[in-house]
Symmetry: D2
Subunit: 290 residues, 4 copies
């Protein structure tokens, strides 16, 4: 574990001594603390921490030893935790239907090594975007779906993602509602982009409804998918000014750029271990200084 | 009508020749066109125009003559229109409850002559903000209300506003729901500030609900009040980034500044004759160059 | 000229009757006016208009006839004008060096038919981005340059662009300063993206200098190139919040997304005939309703 | 020191063990850590921390004892530090000339207890804004200045501020350049609002110059005053979109609202002990959760 950055994400009931004991744990273990971010929800008495440490050459601990020792601290404070050793890139599957802007953006960032992951595949219920996957030399899986085949298609999706050890599923404008069953198989592992400023315009046709309502700003929301449609933990949101002159068509164009930026940021925060999910909320620690 | 700016607001079915005939009407009448803004809603085939003209010394038309002549054009094109001669300041009543930021802001802009109106009175169902009205030397009317007295209080409000010839009622965080009856007396004359980004968090306690939903942006919306709560034509909206660290209390603080800016802009657009209401939408023509 | 949209861009000294006479010209000529946008600079007494008209089936005028007739009006009012018949797509050359985000973005928008133009070629003083041009099947010209060969390279560039009838040159992070001579050959036809919020951080290394200055917002600026470096007419600008935690590297990342959006919008406004250049300023008429 | 929040602001060379040892110091001293924010500038190897602790009933340390003990840690790590016990409100002087929007805003926030300070006085080189100070019942000092009396006026200002134990001087559009001598007396204690997006349009008449340059966004900057005009550490910046239609007058109006928000936020961050100054930069720790 020499000179690698290790990230711990921690949540537990708020208690005295948490910061001191946790930082001591790593300091005494021979780690240098690169950053230590906390958030205390004092309304619900909960404590959250993201701590990034680097092992120096003298650290003789194996992963197993480190985790065993940390578990002792975790039991004392009832800590729920995750660790990432930063060595292995996460495997990502992108799901799309017929809309291309998010797909282009994610594939180009990936190709330019701006997204810390391996995009393993693009999956779609339509064939239309296959040429884009081809351009970027990413395997494309065409998996059509109808009312009748929805169950079997989802089973195939589950098999596909499981067999490829997919760590993150990005729904980059996949226009099918996934079943609770499917979502349950990948908890905290599905990010969706919704083309409105949630909770406004939940559900279908948000731009048409935004036009009809005459709003002066439109937005997009990236969130984790849960069994409740468009109600999962929000990771990132963006907005842009519009005017009475906007039509559903022009809102769609303006919205495309917001969706692109919002989804890219959300995926990047996830891959960078900046997020702790707590119930229906996403705690997103900033990391501007990278 | 020498050297005064006259503003016509026009709406009608879209037809060929509208721009040419309307601008000709004023040109041939001896007016100089300062600005001529159109908006064509090509989905619904509607035409909207805001045209500002200035009479020069040779114009011998009286208001009555001008309006009679314009009516000939209006009948030809089925134009629904309004005119403002810019001479008499609109009379404004501000309604508040216990929250002061919008009141301070509107009164200070008024005092500094940044709002083109006479603020005639402040009306409240509480006495708390009377000292602010006093500071700015604006008459304050304390009109308490309870479930039992709601009808009679509204009748008194109507009498008060009517007898003072109030042109615009600004609900600057007045925390009572006005009846359809009251609203019907002042059509297109009541502006409300709602402390959320509508249609998100319609109704009560938007900041608390924004906290619970874990949104990453909060907003405020100024709209005309109609009989449907928080559903009237939107004039202006604003947003600000927030994070998981925000509490209902901090959201309220951040929100106060958004509410202040959004309401001030909306009131200014209304007073400046920039708005045409069309069904449930507000067409707001820009006027940045003043 | 049946059912095609024709756009006139007009500038002249401000005078009485301009709107009426211009709109009449088109109305009487049998055109329907789709939109008519004016801007009066009352400080400098200048008038600007963008008028979009559509010919109907009864219009028997040829282009030549239309232009001849319009010239009569133009002489009367000293109008400087341009017309676009919207039939032929403009030919665009993109110039790059080693930075890819703007190139990816423009090529993807072009491929998805979101940019109303033909991207005819990508030109670079480096070979690094050739694979991207190849992916999108756009001819790539490698034209290296050194101090010694600068003059001859520019001559070759001029030949290349002239022989291909290039209408617009987009400098999408081309890191060479073009000579006044080169720029003079393509007046109002070169758009550059500068990676700062001009006039802040004009010149080299803006992100490094933004870091050193400790700014809390960074930006990007798209402008027409003139002989004065980074001082040409500004078309579009964007900003994003940053914090003390930002490093030159993270500013570069954040900035890349701003540059991408700002350049795409500027190019789109140019191609859509929304811009009139007046001295060192760009008048950019909005077109949100498309 | 029972149940009071104590804030330490710390800067030192980056070293291993800083977080652990500092948090231990407070934990072992019987304090509960409310928040602990760090920033490591890894380019310059500097460490910054803002730590907020609350003493519980068992803490028997006096201020003096606490500070003596902390000094031991400070010597070990070469820590430069400040502490605030949050009991005594800072005394603030506001300096203005003829522009009122910032003054209204600060006085109203103060009156509504939204600014954690005592505004002790308003000082101006003009009499124009006296009525505003009177409205809010804040002592107003009229201190005119001319080229000849500049030195003596500054000496009187120094006497006035010193004798009233002023902790913070807010230049809320005070249109005189203060001498290095004056500024040297109040290091890190003068906040200025500049009406442009620094470093753009440093110096006089920024809105006029913004109009002439044809920018598409304007801004405002709050910064600490240093001997170099408009070059001190930036605390906060804001921007707003403008268009070619903007005039110097309309830019001034739009700018007034940006200035108001930006200065209020900067003053609030200062009063809330969120800022550490490092050379020419301000490290501003967020505090959204209050």
């Amino acid at each position: 574990m020499k000179s690698q950055i290790i990230t711990f994400l921690i949540k537990c009931p708020d208690q005295k001594g948490l910061v001191a004991k946790t930082t001591n744990f790593f300091y005494n273990g021979g780690f240098n603390i690169i950053s230590c971010q906390q958030y205390v929800n004092s309304i619900e008495d909960k404590f959250f921490m993201r701590i990034r440490v680097v092992s120096d050459e003298t650290v003789a601990l194996s992963k197993k030893q480190l985790e065993e020792r940390f578990n002792l601290l975790a039991s004392e404070f009832k800590i729920d935790w995750k660790v990432d050793y930063g060595r292995i890139k996460q495997k990502v599957a992108i799901m799309v239907s017929n809309t291309s802007h998010n797909l282009y953006d994610l594939l180009h960032r990936h190709k330019e090594e701006k997204l810390n992951c391996d995009i393993t595949m693009v999956v779609s219920n339509h064939e239309k975007l296959k040429p884009i996957a081809d351009m970027f030399e990413i395997p494309f899986y065409y998996m059509p779906v109808s009312k009748e085949t929805k169950d079997s298609q989802e089973r195939e999706l589950i098999d596909l993602f499981t067999s490829h050890h997919i760590d993150l599923i990005v729904m980059a404008r996949y226009m099918q509602i996934l079943s609770s069953n499917f979502i349950g198989v990948f908890p905290e592992k599905i990010i969706n982009i919704h083309h409105s400023f949630l909770p406004a315009f939940q559900g279908a046709n948000p731009y048409k409804r935004a036009y009809e309502r005459g709003v002066k700003l439109i937005g997009a929301t990236a969130h984790y998918a849960t069994e409740y449609l468009d109600e999962g933990p929000i990771i990132e949101q963006g907005v842009e000014r519009v005017s009475h002159e906007s039509t559903p068509t022009s809102l769609k164009k303006i919205g495309a750029d917001i969706e692109t930026m919002v989804l890219a940021r959300a995926v990047s925060c996830h891959l960078n271990n900046q997020i702790i999910i707590d119930g229906n909320k996403a705690i997103v620690f900033p990391e501007p200084g990278e």
